[in-house]
């Protein structure tokens, strides 16, 4: 297993370097830079532009260097915890992200827990009661969850949450807590608001997970080892949990790869509709404004989380099922 970890790490490092180069290249592709965009914005508003100041800012932010120099400066900065400077917010990137990161993590972890807690028992019930009324009903709800656009569900739930529970429209806490330090009262306000975005963001994921787990479990329940175990008198619960359920957990493990970045990125469109102070809208704004370091660092962070997530899920799969595929073969 140690050798496998080293092999996988060696695949990860060049991957991350390639992603960083591509991310930086894409950020550099649009003509001009943040300052050019800023000048154009000022001119369109009829304001005068002090070219000497612009030139000073260009030198200060290192935008007068070649893209290659800027890239290496950015990469080595990140390795030392310096993610660069946000031109848009006039602050270091770490300060801009700040609290937004924690709120995003809270929303996303709640969504993941919701997805797993709801989908797991429903999928098991659907698979073990295939074609029953309960299965048909849950399948219908699942398809509705998959088909309903998140932003539409967000608008509907915002209305009902306000009309029946008195929860303020939008946001993740009452307005009086917006700039207040963290306290139990603030935490309670966050928790009271949390269920709406959790339900909205988690709906389609839950429905998808139910479908996949149900299908996997049904496949396993048809296999000979399960039929034999039941025929030999093994109880239905034990026979189910011992192998079929364990084998059908692979999609959960594989999902770790995509879960880690989604914990941080948040659902941008839903966050905008619901006015959530998460990082999704911030990333969108940074990309629109060509705020190179904020957008680039954030995208790079997401890429790192994706690669680390895939690495962790690969390790978990290798530990759970270190089996050769007979059509493959070992070459060493």
């Amino acid at each position: 297993m140690f050798g496998y970890v080293v092999h996988r790490l060696l695949v990860m490092i060049p991957t991350l370097l390639a992603i960083s180069a591509i991310t930086f290249l894409i950020m550099q592709l649009p003509p001009g830079d943040f300052l050019s965009t800023h000048i154009a914005e000022l001119q369109s508003q009829g304001e005068s532009v002090d070219m000497a100041k612009i030139e000073f800012l260009r030198q200060q932010y290192g935008l007068d260097h070649s893209p290659v120099v800027q890239y290496f400066h950015w990469i080595f900065g990140m390795l030392q915890g310096d993610f660069g400077y946000s031109f848009e917010f006039q602050l270091p990137v770490t300060k801009v992200v700040g609290d937004k990161m924690w709120l995003t993590v809270i929303v996303s972890v709640a969504t993941i827990l919701f997805t797993w807690i709801v989908s797991f028992p429903i999928a098991i019930y659907s698979a073990t009661h295939q074609y029953s009324w309960g299965d048909h009903g849950l399948t219908l709800i699942g398809f509705l969850g998959l088909a309903t656009p998140n932003f539409l569900l967000a608008l509907v739930l915002l209305y009902f949450a306000n009309a029946y529970f008195g929860i303020s429209i939008g946001g993740l806490m009452d307005d009086r807590f917006l700039d207040a330090p963290w306290s139990w009262e603030k935490m309670r306000s966050v928790l009271a608001h949390l269920w709406v975005p959790t339900l909205v963001i988690g709906a389609s994921g839950t429905a998808g997970m139910i479908r996949r787990l149900r299908a996997n479990l049904l496949d396993e329940l048809q296999k000979q080892y399960y039929v034999t175990a039941r025929a030999k008198g093994m109880g239905p619960f034990r026979a189910l949990v011992k192998y079929p359920l364990r084998m059908s957990l692979n999609p959960f493990i594989s999902d770790i790869g995509s879960i880690l970045p989604s914990i941080i990125s948040g659902a941008a469109v839903v966050s905008i509709v619901m006015n959530l102070p998460t990082t999704g809208p911030m990333l969108l704004r940074a990309l629109q404004a060509q705020d190179t370091y904020l957008a680039g660092s954030f995208l790079m962070f997401l890429a790192v989380l994706t690669v680390v997530g895939v690495f962790l899920s690969d390790l978990a799969l290798a530990a759970l099922d270190p089996r050769i595929r007979l059509e493959g073969g070992s070459s060493r």
């Binding site: 060696l10 493959g328 073969g329 070992s330």
Partner: protein, 163 residues
């Protein structure tokens, strides 16, 4: 008694991996000021590749002795396992490819005094695997589904599976 070794040609890949990993993580580490974030991210990675390099070197000079009564490894220290005392056998397959091809196997044998591990790069690995498989069958040692499947890919008939 048969003496088996890890051939140099097979070990070269792991030496290159250790050196490449050490260069990729060690170079920026040396260029970064001490105590920076890089120290905490790249430091453990560099250490990991260094340990992997040391393990590769150790494995390179290890001699595996296979006899009818026992199997032993002579590396930094000597480890021995009598076939009659075999408790657990596990044959794992690892691959970094998405289609799970071009991988390698690892055989773990556990006895009362410890574990012995052999990679499929070992010359004569199928012989060690065959003896382990035969002993497991003779002693009725239960094997996992993955181990049975991996033994089957080497051409050994399935033994008793764990419930």
């Amino acid at each position: 008694m048969t003496e088996l070794r890890y051939p140099t040609q097979a070990m070269m890949g792991d030496y290159v991996r250790a050196a490449f990993g050490l260069a990729l993580t060690g170079t920026p580490l040396l260029l970064s000021p001490p105590g920076s974030a890089a120290t905490y991210i790249l430091g453990p990675l560099a250490l990991l590749f260094a340990v992997f390099g040391a393990r590769t070197a150790l494995r390179h000079r290890t001699v595996v002795e296979v006899e009818d009564q026992k199997v032993a490894t002579n590396g930094l220290w000597r480890q021995e396992l009598r076939w009659s005392e075999l408790i657990e056998v596990k044959l794992s397959y690892f691959s970094t490819k998405r289609d799970r091809t071009q991988g390698w196997m690892q055989l773990m044998l556990r006895g009362p005094t410890g574990k012995l591990r052999f990679d499929s790069t070992l010359d004569g690995f199928p012989d060690v695997a065959r003896r382990a498989h035969m002993t497991a069958r003779a002693k009725g040692i239960e094997l996992s589904e993955a181990t049975i499947s991996n033994f089957a890919s080497l051409g050994f008939e399935p033994a008793k599976a764990k419930e």
